[in-house]
């Protein structure tokens, strides 16, 4: 839900949390990114860093240059000029990520957790149950049957928060409680209404459904597609998951090890928000 006005919260004496709404939703996230872009363009001297999230963003600032109240007022004014309409188009790359669903490595990770917490329902069974899916094959079809919107990056270097763009492909899942201490690098997880790809072996809380051999973060910038950035994704990109079999999976692993793997990135497309929202509405009406 989009709030009527921005809500400001102080994050200590040098950060402001600006909330636009509550909920994991494409429309709110789009407005977040547009407002962040406008604030960036205003080149306010006190601002040191702007970090967009799902329904909010954070401003790191120097309180010796501008006070909390003045900065909130300035951001509020920019929002007023911008309005809350959702329209326009933007360049948006489409990146296809190969996935081996229900692979051995993430299965072993789930089994290891269940040794300590035997009551934990296995991840894919839990998701199927909560989302009315008959079996794992149906879950795989739903998960790979949509493009995703890169709504935010964070939590870990290169970790992406992906929102499904096709309304019928929404999947929800609770997070692990307590969180896992280990997740395999490349694991695909679902938490809340989001999908993520673990860029490295990290702790984590999302339910795991598969694994990609294609890296999404490369600190050493070894692979060609990381030449310009350590992180594969940018906010506003779109992602698609392509199911692969074990053989193709191993083949990609070998290419990554050799340093020759090229990600499937299409970068000539423009994403029209208006056309998308019309389409999503029609899809929902038909469902």
């Amino acid at each position: 839900m989009l709030y009527d006005a921005l809500r400001f919260y102080p994050g200590g004496d040098r950060a402001i949390e600006v909330e636009l709404g509550d909920g994991m939703d494409f429309t709110i996230n789009f407005i977040v990114h547009r407002l962040v872009a406008a604030v960036r363009q205003a080149q306010i001297a006190a601002i040191q860093d702007l970090i967009p999230e799902l329904a909010s963003f954070q401003v790191n600032y120097d309180p010796d240059v501008m006070s909390y109240e003045d900065l909130c007022a300035e951001i509020g004014q920019i929002y007023e000029q911008l309005g809350r309409g959702v329209t326009g188009s933007l360049p948006s790359r489409l990146i296809t990520i190969p996935v081996l669903y229900y692979d051995d490595e993430t299965t072993a990770c789930i089994d290891a957790y269940r040794k300590s917490y035997p009551d934990k329902v296995p991840d894919s069974d839990l998701i199927c149950e909560l989302n009315g899916l008959s079996d794992r094959a149906a879950l795989m079809r739903r998960h790979s049957g949509t493009e995703y919107w890169v709504a935010a990056l964070g939590f870990w270097p290169g970790l992406c928060s992906l929102l499904p763009l096709r309304p019928q492909c929404r999947i929800i899942a609770p997070k692990y409680n307590p969180p896992r201490t280990h997740t395999p690098k490349g694991a695909i997880g679902i938490g809340g209404a989001l999908t993520c790809i673990y860029p490295d072996a990290t702790p984590g809380g999302y339910q795991l459904i598969g694994h990609t051999p294609a890296p999404t973060y490369d600190g050493e910038q070894r692979l060609p597609d990381f030449k310009d950035s350590l992180a594969l994704f940018r906010a506003g990109d779109r992602v698609r998951f392509a199911p692969v079999g074990a053989e193709e999976y191993r083949d990609i692993q070998a290419q990554v090890a050799e340093g020759t793997y090229r990600h499937d990135i299409i970068d000539y497309q423009v994403f029209s928000v208006d056309l998308y929202l019309d389409w999503a509405k029609a899809q929902e009406a038909a469902a």
Binding site: P10, G12, L153, G154, F155, G192, G219
Partner: protein
């Protein structure tokens, strides 16, 4: 010139003042946890305050010098030796080629900062030499220092002088119980009034899970949540939120039980609610807390936070004047 690592210590990393500006890629600012100590050590040996030095946790390394240099050790209190001779802390020490810098057991604090004239000259990553092991960035190949590493050292400015020292009255370390001032905010309204009061009344203790990402605290009472309906996608636990950004110093409380204060290598965002933020003036102090140290959180408002910030800046200025 270079410095050879004879013993690495427990967890010793190259740090400077960090790499702010990459949070939007999920890369934290990093840098020394106790910035006042890091800046002071650099000033003592004639470096820029932001030069790279070493941050040693609980236990110091042993280093061998291939050339004469000035070194200074600040922060945690542990005996400092050049060869077998004990040396003062917070003081510029002349070390000769072939000599070794070593340390005894920790007496107080948690992190010692070692500056060497000329600064450590490992290749910068995203504008900083700070080691961020999780992202394999900065430092020595993105990791803690190890036996037989040769740490490259830059050219000394010649401005430092042996024997220069930060006066006792200007050095800072944690008291007991340590007091951390917190500005309530963010999702403070999500816990009950009784829980808000109890949080500041309780005496907490630093948990063993305390590192560059964050410091966890236990022994206080669990927080009680205000009833509400969770928004779509936030998850069913009342401590979950629609993923948001985590400010530096913010206090998140997964499950409402054990608060975690996020520090310089903390993740940039996620789905746990936060009850407020430790003020910037007290963040250095956290880097000097040992596990089991008793801690009280003290409620402050924005004016008090800004006053403390100004006081801290004035203290740093007095150190500059005393050393320079």
């Amino acid at each position: 010139m270079s410095v050879k690592v004879i013993k690495p210590g427990l967890l010793t990393t190259v740090q400077d003042l960090g790499r702010p500006g990459y949070f939007h890629l999920g890369i934290p600012m990093g840098g020394a946890m106790d910035r006042l100590a890091m800046r002071s050590a650099n000033l003592l040996v004639g470096n820029d305050e932001g030069a790279a030095g070493l941050e040693a946790v609980f236990m110091g390394p042993e280093l061998e010098f291939t050339q004469d240099a000035l070194v200074a050790v600040t922060g945690a209190d542990m005996p400092i030796f050049v060869d077998e001779v004990e040396q003062p802390g917070w003081t510029a020490i002349a070390v000769k080629a072939g000599q070794r810098l070593g340390f005894g057991f920790l007496r107080s604090g948690a992190r010692a900062y070692i500056a060497i004239s000329g600064g450590i000259d490992t290749p910068p990553a995203l504008g900083s030499r700070s080691t961020y092991a999780i992202g394999a960035l900065g430092g020595v190949e993105g990791r803690a220092i190890a036996v037989e590493d040769e740490l490259p050292i830059g050219r000394a400015s010649g401005k430092g002088r042996a024997g220069a020292s930060v006066p006792q009255a200007l050095r800072r370390g944690p008291g007991s119980p340590a007091e951390l001032r917190m500005l309530p905010g963010l999702y403070w309204h999500r816990i009950t009034e009784a829980a808000q009061k109890g949080f500041f009344e309780d005496e907490w203790a630093v948990a063993p899970e305390a590192d560059r990402m964050g410091y966890r605290f236990r022994n206080g009472r669990p927080l009680e949540f205000v009833e509400r309906e969770q928004p779509f996608g936030a998850g069913s636990d009342p401590s979950n939120i629609v993923d948001g950004c985590y400010p530096y110093g913010s206090v998140q409380v997964p499950g409402g039980t054990e608060p975690i204060v996020l520090h310089r290598d903390a993740v940039s965002g996620g789905g746990y609610f936060m009850i407020g933020t430790v003020i910037s003036a007290d963040m250095d102090l956290i880097g000097q807390l040992q596990p089991h140290t008793p801690v009280k959180f003290v409620k402050v408002d924005m004016d008090a936070a800004l006053a403390a910030r100004a006081e801290r800046a004035a203290l740093m200025q007095r150190i500059r004047e005393a050393v320079g």
